[in-house]
């Protein structure tokens, strides 16, 4: 492999903590962008920071890079406290959403910049810088474009130059801020696969920020779901999708429907009707009484012919490829949920359909319990249909 100098030592991968974030808080004026965030990142991991805008994910990335400094808490690189080290001392590779390529330098000069500015003793010779730049351009599949200027490249090419430039300094960690955010969907998917490949080849501990859950779920070893300056959940793609630990995560990752319900004597009630589910059947069952929110995935439902269940009139129905998406009005239009049925189901407008969620979760209503400290205000009251594909 020609890029042996670039490859991170894999021997300690997965054991050593590369990055430790301890109770970090960041205030901008009086606005708290991050509150008490703690996170461990293992050596060689590919981590996604996922959240809606304003969730603090970019702030966290900038704190790790040293482009901003925490108000409180500590950031450790290995065992070393780096909280107040400058960005130069941290030796991180940072890739910006808008590339931030130096427009007056050629592609090769851009890639070699980090080596050129090293102090005399550690600076490679000119020929060596050139050689490494062309090796990196080879790695990012841009050989032959060495003498182009950034404005002569497409968006995807620019971002690949930016990544090569960040890799050139042999960074301890690689940080990417919405790396594909400014690109169109096709290029995005391509680059995503390609980034995974590069990561597997070079083994850099990598943290990237995204608001695109598909990107996070497909690419990352672990996903850090953030909301309103806090970490909601950390886990693999399957974990955050299958066992979301808060209404926010349930609603944010994948598609979901929710209903405001009441638990009495272990039975679940919607308005004045029992819906044939018992609280003990919840995937996270903890609640024995009180107000709660019932969450389920549109495809985790079974249509029933009789007995207790949820019944509603079809408000809208559309066929998407092999399935049918049905919007149901329940309780005379007070609630609206989305369920997924086989495409063969007629689901005529105005007809009644009864169903029961087969997999579902209960979360205590906010204020009804202190068990759920995370604010859920960002969660839309109506189950807004999400258009992202659901990985399964």
């Amino acid at each position: 492999m020609p890029i042996s100098w670039l490859r991170r030592e894999a021997g300690t991968r997965g054991i050593e903590m590369e990055l430790t974030i301890k109770h970090v808080r960041k205030d901008f004026d009086r606005f708290a962008a991050l509150q008490d965030v703690s996170l461990d990142i293992r050596s060689g991991e590919l981590i996604a920071l996922l959240g809606p805008s304003g969730s603090g994910k970019t702030t966290l990335l900038r704190l790790i890079a040293g482009l901003d400094f925490p108000t409180d808490g500590a950031i450790l690189f290995g065992d070393e406290d780096a909280s107040f080290k400058s960005v130069q001392e941290r030796n991180v590779g940072f890739v910006f959403q808008h590339y931030a390529l130096f427009r007056h330098m050629t592609v090769a000069e851009n890639v070699g910049f980090g080596l050129k500015v090293r102090p005399g003793a550690t600076r490679p010779a000119k020929a060596e810088i050139k050689r490494r730049a062309s090796e990196l351009l080879d790695l990012v599949q841009l050989s032959g474009l060495e003498s182009r200027y950034p404005n002569q490249l497409s968006g995807g090419q620019r971002q690949r130059v930016a990544l090569a430039r960040a890799l050139a300094i042999e960074p301890r960690v690689l940080l990417l801020d919405e790396p594909f955010g400014a690109l169109d969907a096709q290029v995005r998917r391509e680059l995503r696969r390609w980034l995974r490949e590069i990561h597997d080849r070079t083994g850099h501990t990598t943290v990237f920020v995204t608001h695109d859950q598909e990107e996070a779920l497909e690419l990352a070893d672990r996903v850090v779901v953030m909301s309103q300056g806090r970490i909601e959940q950390v886990g693999t793609a399957d974990e955050v999708y299958d066992t979301p630990n808060s209404p926010f995560v349930f609603g944010f990752i994948g598609e979901s429907s929710s209903l405001p319900v009441r638990v009495e004597n272990g039975e679940i009630w919607l308005d004045d009707r029992a819906i044939g589910l018992t609280a003990s059947g919840a995937a996270n069952g903890k609640i024995s009484s009180g107000l709660a929110a019932l969450y389920f995935r549109p495809h985790d439902v079974e249509v029933i012919e009789g007995g207790a269940g949820l019944a509603g009139t079809v408000a809208a129905s559309r066929r998407i490829a092999g399935t049918r998406r049905v919007e149901l009005e329940i309780g005379g239009g007070r609630h609206r949920v989305e369920i997924e049925l086989p495409a063969s189901h007629p689901a005529v407008q105005g007809s009644r359909i009864a169903f029961r969620p087969s997999r579902w979760k209960l979360f205590p209503e906010q204020g009804a319990s202190t068990q759920q400290p995370a604010p859920v205000a960002a969660q839309p009251a109506a189950p807004a249909p999400r258009l992202q594909a659901v990985p399964s």
Binding site: Q88, N151, R165
Partner: protein
């Protein structure tokens, strides 16, 4: 084939249809004519008049102007003042633009207004303020005179100071909008790649604004050589000592000798030539580095 024909038809149709933002033909002709007439009348005609007057008595009297020690001193002083004032404002302007565009700090809005002050204050007033502040009978002026033997007012340092004051905004004004537009992304990238503050400045910040900087310097230089009001007040108009070219032109013009009139217009012609050369340099640079210029503008 069919598709190609259709595409061609489309293009033809588009060419025929007027663009929604264009004007009708008479309006366009009117606007262009107005502009050209205005340019001829107010810019080109006076310029030609200056040269015509300079040549009015033949080439001999014109060349005689350059024998006059006062004229030579004025030309030298003008070049000297520009050679000091422009580099000073280059440093001040870059520093001011850099801190305004790249940082948020209390008093920033005030600093922006202060940079514009020389534009809004009459140069004569500016000159007077310096006289009142630094004249030989003021504490500061007296201190310089006694302890260092340096006269500021009615001497060359005063002329330089006044010129720096008047030309201060040119470079900063040229740089601030561009630097604000470019933001701090490139700088952050450079820092994250291990560059020091100075390396970032010289390798990234400065090259990103070099064209705007060049325009600023050219404008600043043109104004530095042409400044009249502030310099007139502060220099005391001592012939051969503190008189710059614009002042020398006025002094010649006020003598009622025919030869002096020629000298006045000759000097004016020299000054105009300096301005024309500046413009030519700018145009040539734009033509020579058109591709680089385009690269700098379409940054992202």
């Amino acid at each position: 084939m069919v598709e190609t024909t259709m595409a061609n038809d489309n293009i033809a149709a588009r060419k025929a249809a007027p663009s929604p933002v264009t004007e009708t033909r008479p309006v366009r002709v009117l606007l262009i004519t107005l502009t050209i007439v205005a340019l001829l009348l107010f810019l080109l005609a006076p310029l030609l008049a200056v040269f015509a007057q300079a040549f009015s008595m033949g080439i001999g009297p014109m060349l005689a102007t350059f024998q006059d020690p006062d004229a030579i001193a004025a030309i030298k002083l003008t070049l000297l003042v520009a050679a000091i004032a422009v580099p000073c404002n280059l440093v001040f302007g870059v520093a001011a633009a850099w801190c305004i565009a790249k940082f948020r700090f209390p008093g920033r809005a005030m600093l922006i207004s202060l940079i514009d002050l020389p534009f809004s204050v009459s140069p004569v007033v500016a000159g007077l303020v310096y006289v009142l502040l630094l004249g030989p009978f003021t504490p500061i002026g007296a201190w310089f005179l006694q302890d260092f033997g340096v006269r500021i007012i009615f001497a060359v340092p005063g002329v330089v100071l006044a010129t720096i004051f008047v030309t201060f905004p040119f470079i900063a004004r040229e740089l601030i909008p561009l630097m604000q537009d470019q933001g701090t992304g490139d700088e952050e990238a450079a820092l994250s790649l291990g560059a020091s503050g100075w390396q970032t400045f010289f390798y990234v910040t400065l090259p990103n604004v070099k064209w705007a900087l060049l325009y600023g310097v050219l404008l600043c230089n043109a104004r530095a050589m042409g400044e009249f009001g502030a310099v007139a007040v502060i220099s005391g108009k001592l012939r051969g000592e503190t008189v710059t070219m614009p002042l020398q032109i006025e002094l010649y013009y006020q003598e009622f000798r025919a030869l002096a009139q020629v000298s006045a217009f000759t000097m004016a012609a020299v000054l105009a030539c300096l301005a024309l050369v500046t413009l030519l340099i700018k145009t040539w640079l734009e033509w020579r580095y058109a591709d680089q210029l385009a690269a700098t503008r379409s940054g992202h």
